[in-house]
Symmetry: C2
């Protein structure tokens, strides 16, 4: 499979980025290539295009499947497996966030809850626990919010996202509604 210079720089860049987001370089490259390629690709094509071994591709695909980021398809009359990236870019982001929540945030919350169970004795224990509670509450707020957002339909989500700079305006609208309702009582 031939790859253009542009696509090459995209693929290499996301290889490096991947390594900061929980994948290794080659897994990042494989996924990047799958994302920008229209038709499904075989393992051998991935290997030769990226100059990596066949075994490495096999393990990388396995990992991407564990992340639910790639799909296997078959071409009639062909025994090879064809791989492609699942869903829209937004879907991908959701999957990665969700999966990292499960792998990193959930165990952290569970540890923190445990550590927060019994009451602190000394001043320094009080301090440490307060910090742990702050971390716990922040993580919980972020994950709650994220899962709320994931409940929205794509259109609703889009509306909310486009809001951008307007968040504060919404707050004032809410304020207005709220005080109005209060007055009606």
């Amino acid at each position: 499979m031939e790859i253009s210079e542009k696509n090459k720089s995209f693929v290499y860049h996301f290889g490096e980025m991947g390594s900061k987001w929980g994948f290794n370089r080659t897994v990042g490259q494989m996924y990047a290539l799958l994302v920008i390629t229209d038709k499904p690709i075989t393992a051998n094509e991935l290997a030769s295009t990226l100059n990596i071994s066949r075994g490495n591709v096999s393990m990388g695909i396995k990992e991407l499947q564990a992340w639910k980021l790639v799909q296997v398809t078959h071409v009639p009359g062909d025994r090879k497996e064809y791989y492609n990236a699942i869903g829209s870019v937004m879907d991908m982001a959701n999957i990665v966030f969700e999966e990292r929540r499960k792998r990193e945030v959930d165990p952290t919350l569970s540890l923190l809850r445990n550590l927060l169970l019994d009451t602190p004795e000394t001043d320094s224990e009080v301090y440490a626990q307060q910090r742990m509670k702050d971390i716990h509450d922040l993580l919980e707020m972020i994950t709650t919010w994220a899962s709320e957002l994931q409940k929205l339909t794509p259109e609703q989500l889009n509306t909310v996202m486009k809001l951008g700079a307007g968040v504060t305006k919404i707050l004032s609208v809410k304020q207005a509604l709220f005080s109005k309702k209060e007055n009606e009582h």
Copy 2:
């Protein structure tokens, strides 16, 4: 410096987590220890408490300072440097997000903008560019949102977070109000 079993498990856990968030294990441990410790700590205390070398501490502190996550203080009549974690837990989260944006997202956006400059020729180029554009737009949206949220006061932020999916309700009300005003013209 003595460290309780609880604090030890906190510190070790955040050492592992740190390695998924852009730090290495010992830097994560050092930071975790600084975060839950009330009074500032010396480099030698960090080294002996965490069983790591003095040189390692020196490099770790340097990195945490580059992230603007720790501060140096001095005790009168003492030549040693005392370190402590800067700000609230929310401040820390903001700093880490902001810094990762600078280091990872900004270069990615700049690469993508470059790749999107000239017009695609073939169908597969059109497809690749569309994907790159989707990624670009999503990253831009997320960073816009993040910087908006950072501008909010803790209370406002809390309101927005608690609002969650309820944002859409407010939005539809806003929509209604807006079109009413339009009609009044």
